[in-house]
Structures are given as structure tokens and as C-alpha cells.
């Protein structure tokens, strides 16, 4: 029973076999390069979006690449239990959930004037008792400017500052809006709704639709908004001339007492679009007041708890899922890269958020 250890070697074409092995290895390496986007420079990737933000606004190391100017806040959400009819998420059971939040204005420059855009944002992170989280980034407009990530990128490119003026070229922006009529509803809405006089008296909207899954598995499309208890008042002329009125106003109001919003869940009808953030749902849809958001303190974003939070709107508790809105994945991907870059800058330059005694940023 002494068989030879290996079958007798027939003659083989060694170069052919080596070439085949090389082809397998190169094929895998090439496949990875393709997936990484290295072979397709035209693909819209997170780096292309974030690089464009950086190119448009110049470097602002340590800050978010968009909504760079902001204020950290904190408080809690008191659920009244009504939301549980739409979603099994524990945040909607009656009770209190701590919240870390952030008010901001769109744009990449952390020292831009508050009036540079007619839109503000509120981001929230609900910290559920069992370790789950619900993160959301909301705008003070119920609509978004564009429907797709590609349009968002084109808009950024169109808004690039003209080297001659340092400002976006109005002709390029006009051409973009003309080529993308989906942008009109937001422009019309903004014309009819002057910004509020404060961060405290504005409503903030989820921008995108989400899927709410209830305890027995029913799945509904939902948008949410937080509606302020503080009555709306339009921005005053004095405020229009003040570059930094929002933070001072918020601090003053919080010194007088907590600020409250109602979390309103809006349920779509089957015909309502869930993949188009440029379209509002009709007003007669079912609205559910799920409870009260209470904001009771604010901190500078240089050292507040919100600084290190990426308000990725796809971080959701069980019972809420992203919809088919194409903006959601793009927001998640782009926010992640912004977070990666700014935390790297923080790690490499630990004093980045603490100006030196001479006043110059370190």
C-alpha cells in the first residue's frame, strides 16, 4: 500500500498557469479598485460632494462641511404615547428620553452671518434607554431644494464662488434652477415665509420621508416636524443687520426658561411621494402630536456635547426605517465623510476649537 505521495506529474504549461494565477489576482484587485470608484472618476462619491463644499468655502478645519455654524443644546423629549400607534420605537412609549441637539445655519463657513441663508436647522439625537438612538437633521423649510444627490451636487457646483467676485455667479445659479424645475417649490415657499426672529419660534421639518413600523408590523410613510410653542414672528430689521443674533437670542430665551416644540408626525396617503423631498404632502393628512421636545440649555459648539455628534438621519431606532428617498443614503454617506475629516483634524490639532490667547485660531 505505498502509493506515490503525489500523482505522476504530467507536463504542464507553467507560464500559462502563472498567467492564469496573475489574472485571478489582478481581477480581484481591479474589482476592488472599481468598487472603490478609482476607475470611474465620474461617479458621484462622498469625497466629490465634500471636496466641493471645501472648495466653495475654503478650509475650516474641525468644523462640519455643511451647517458649520451652530450652537449645541440639550433637553429631553416627553412622549405622550400617541406615536406608538405608528411606530414600535421605544421613544414613542409614554415617558422621557434625553436629547442632545444642535441649531445651525446651512453653509460651510462657521463665521458666516446668520442672515446669509433664509434657512435654519435643528438636529437632534434621542438617546433611548436601551442604547438605541434616533438621530435627525431637520430644516426650517418643509421642502428640500433638490430631489436627488446628483442635483444636490450640481447645485453645489453652480454655487461655486466666482474667482472675480468671491460670490456665486448668479447666471450659473439661474441656469441650474432653470434646468431643475424641482427647485421651484422651495423657492416659492421661502418667498412666502420670511425667516423667524429666533431659533425658538421656528418649526423644523424632517426633510425626508421615513417608514414607521408599528407593533404588529404595519408600515407607513411618515414625515415629522417639531412645531414651536413660541409664536412665530418674522425677522426684524435690527436682526437683519446683526450677523450673530441667533445665538445671543437663544441664550437669552433659555435663561428665562425652557423652550418647547411639539413633535408632529404626518402620515402619508398611499399616493403621496416618499422619494421626493421637493414635494409637500397635502395639509389634510393625518397629524399626530407625539409629545413635547423641551430644550433647556445651550452651549458653544466649540465644546458642547453636540460637537462630536454626526447627526446622520439614517441612525434610527427599531420601529423607524429610511424610506426610498435617495437623499437619505447620500446624506448618511456625506455626513460620515465630513465627520471623518473633522474628527481627524481634531485629533491632529487638539486646540482647533480653542482659540489661542492672541485671538488667532490655533
Amino acid at each position: 500500500m505505498t502509493k506515490p505521495r503525489f500523482p505522476q506529474r504530467e507536463s504542464i504549461c507553467v507560464p500559462c498557469r502563472l498567467a492564469a494565477i496573475g489574472a485571478v489576482v489582478l481581477g480581484l484587485a481591479g474589482g476592488l479598485a472599481y468598487v472603490a470608484g478609482w476607475l470611474t472618476p465620474a461617479r458621484l462619491t462622498p469625497p466629490r460632494i465634500i471636496d466641493t463644499f471645501e472648495a466653495n468655502a475654503g478650509p475650516h478645519p474641525g468644523y462640519r462641511r455643511n451647517h458649520a455654524k451652530g450652537i449645541c443644546v440639550a433637553g429631553y423629549f416627553d412622549s405622550n404615547g400617541n406615536g406608538a400607534m405608528l411606530s414600535s420605537a421605544k421613544v414613542f412609549a409614554p415617558g422621557r428620553t434625553p436629547v442632545i441637539g444642535r441649531f445651525a445655519i446651512p453653509g460651510s463657513n462657521p463665521s458666516a452671518p446668520d442672515t446669509s441663508v433664509p434657512i435654519r436647522s435643528m438636529a437632534l439625537m434621542f438617546q433611548l434607554r436601551d442604547g438605541e438612538q434616533w438621530r435627525t437633521g431637520m430644516n426650517s423649510t418643509p421642502l428640500f431644494a433638490v430631489r436627488t444627490p446628483g442635483q444636490f451636487y450640481q447645485q453645489l457646483v453652480a454655487a461655486a464662488p466666482d474667482p472675480a467676485t468671491g460670490k456665486p455667479n448668479p447666471a450659473k445659479l439661474k441656469a441650474f434652477y432653470a434646468a431643475n424645475p424641482e427647485t421651484k417649490p422651495l423657492q416659492d415657499w421661502v418667498k412666502g415665509h420670511p425667516p423667524s426672529s429666533s431659533l425658538a419660534n421656528a418649526a423644523y421639518y424632517s426633510i425626508n420621508a421615513f417608514r414607521f413600523i408599528d407593533g404588529v408590523g404595519n408600515n407607513r410613510a411618515v414625515r415629522w416636524a417639531v412645531a414651536p410653542e413660541t409664536p412665530y414672528a418674522p425677522i426684524t430689521d435690527a436682526e437683519k443687520n446683526d450677523k450673530n443674533f441667533l445665538q445671543a437670542d437663544l441664550t437669552k430665551r433659555l435663561q428665562a426658561g425652557p423652550l418647547r416644540w411639539h413633535l408632529i408626525l404626518t402620515v402619508a396617503a398611499p399616493s403621496d411621494p416618499t422619494d421626493d423631498a421637493t414635494m409637500q404632502w397635502p395639509d389634510d393628512r393625518q397629524h399626530i402630536d407625539a409629545g413635547t421636545l423641551v430644550i433647556n440649555r445651550d452651549t458653544s459648539q466649540d465644546d458642547g456635547a453636540c460637537r462630536d455628534v454626526n447627526f446622520d438621519p439614517t441612525i434610527l431606532p427599531s420601529g423607524i426605517k429610511p424610506s426610498n428617498d435617495p437623499l437619505l443614503a447620500a446624506r448618511s454617506a456625506a455626513y460620515a465623510l465630513s465627520f471623518k475629516r473633522r474628527t481627524r483634524e481634531e485629533a491632529l490639532h487638539p486646540d482647533i476649537h480653542h482659540p489661542q490667547p492672541n485671538g488667532a485660531p490655533s
Binding site: R43, E132, A333, E346, P350
Partner: protein, 179 residues
């Protein structure tokens, strides 16, 4: 020496051939999910996290199997330096297979993200929130992923050289059981 010692055990082979495609898939998923703004981003992330944790469990089991049963001997006619390289490459593979999911878990912890698996099921953080630590681990996760990919490619190339050119039984020791 009996013939059975010339082959990896059934359990070792099962673990190897289960993990090999999954690890390659993880590398492609990881690279792909940060290179797209399409809905594939969300889908791939939802696969990447639980699959990474599953691979962590599998590599722990596999290390135990490897530690207890060892490996079939390499052919006598294989030069000693080559044998050293073979053993070091296996060590590198085990180190990277273990490090990658642990770093992934640690970096999500340091960023303050919930480490979600399925539905409400999630893992506890293994580090306190510290974004500077996150920045370091996030960079490490990328660089070690490429190191793992290169090591896997070299492993694959070496295995194919053994199987197709040297035909010395090294490839079949993992490819099949004793006949």
C-alpha cells in the same frame, strides 16, 4: 505519519471556505459603501456591521481549532525561508481577521454610534466616546483593510501556485479531505 494529518480537519476546512468568501465580500462591501452616495450605501452598511461581528465570532472559533489541531506539515522540499514566510502570512491573516472587526466595533463605540446588528439588537460600546480615538481607529480600519486585502491576494496566489504549479499537496490539504 497517517494521511489524515496531511489535510486540515473538516471543521478547519469548513471554517476556511465559509470565511474566505465572506472576508472578500466584507472588503468589497466596506470599500464600496464609502464610495457611493446611492442607496447601496445604506444597504451595504446594514450588511457590513452584523457580518463583521459574525466574522469576529468565526475567527475566534477558528483560532481555537487551529491552536488545538495545528496544521498539516509543509512539503519537505519547500525551502526554509519560504516556510517561514508561509507561517508569518498565516499569522498576519489571523491578526488582521481578528483586528478588523474589533477595530470596527471600537471605532463605532468611540464615535458614539450605536453598534446595531438587526432591528433593536445592538452591541454595547467597547470604548468610551472619544472622537480623537475614533479618528485614529477609523484610519486604521481603512489601512488594515487594504493590508488584509493584499495579504489575502498573496495567500490566494501562493495557494494557486501550490495547487496548479508545484502540485505538492498544500492546496489539497485545505481543498479536500483525505481520500
Amino acid at each position: 505519519m497517517t494521511r489524515s494529518h496531511e489535510h486540515f480537519s473538516f471543521l478547519a476546512r469548513l471554517l476556511h471556505w465559509t470565511m474566505a468568501p465572506l472576508i472578500l465580500a466584507m472588503l468589497f462591501i466596506g470599500v464600496g459603501m464609502v464610495a457611493t452616495v446611492s442607496q447601496a450605501h445604506s444597504t451595504l452598511i446594514a450588511i457590513h456591521k452584523p457580518l463583521g461581528i459574525a466574522l469576529l465570532a468565526l475567527v475566534v472559533l477558528r483560532a481555537c481549532v487551529r491552536f488545538r489541531r495545528g496544521t498539516p506539515p509543509l512539503p519537505d522540499d519547500m525551502p526554509a525561508p519560504q516556510q517561514v514566510v508561509a507561517k508569518l502570512s498565516h499569522l498576519a491573516l489571523y491578526a488582521l481577521m481578528t483586528a478588523m472587526p474589533l477595530i470596527g466595533w471600537a471605532m463605532l463605540s468611540a464615535a458614539g454610534y450605536p453598534v446595531t446588528l438587526f432591528g433593536a439588537l445592538h452591541l454595547p460600546p467597547i470604548l468610551p466616546q472619544d472622537v480623537r480615538l475614533y479618528a485614529l481607529l477609523r484610519a486604521l480600519h481603512t489601512w488594515l483593510a487594504f493590508a488584509l486585502f493584499v495579504t489575502v491576494l498573496m495567500h490566494l496566489a501562493a495557494a494557486l501556485v501550490h495547487g496548479l504549479i508545484r502540485r505538492d499537496g498544500v492546496f489539497s490539504s485545505m481543498a479536500r479531505g483525505p481520500r
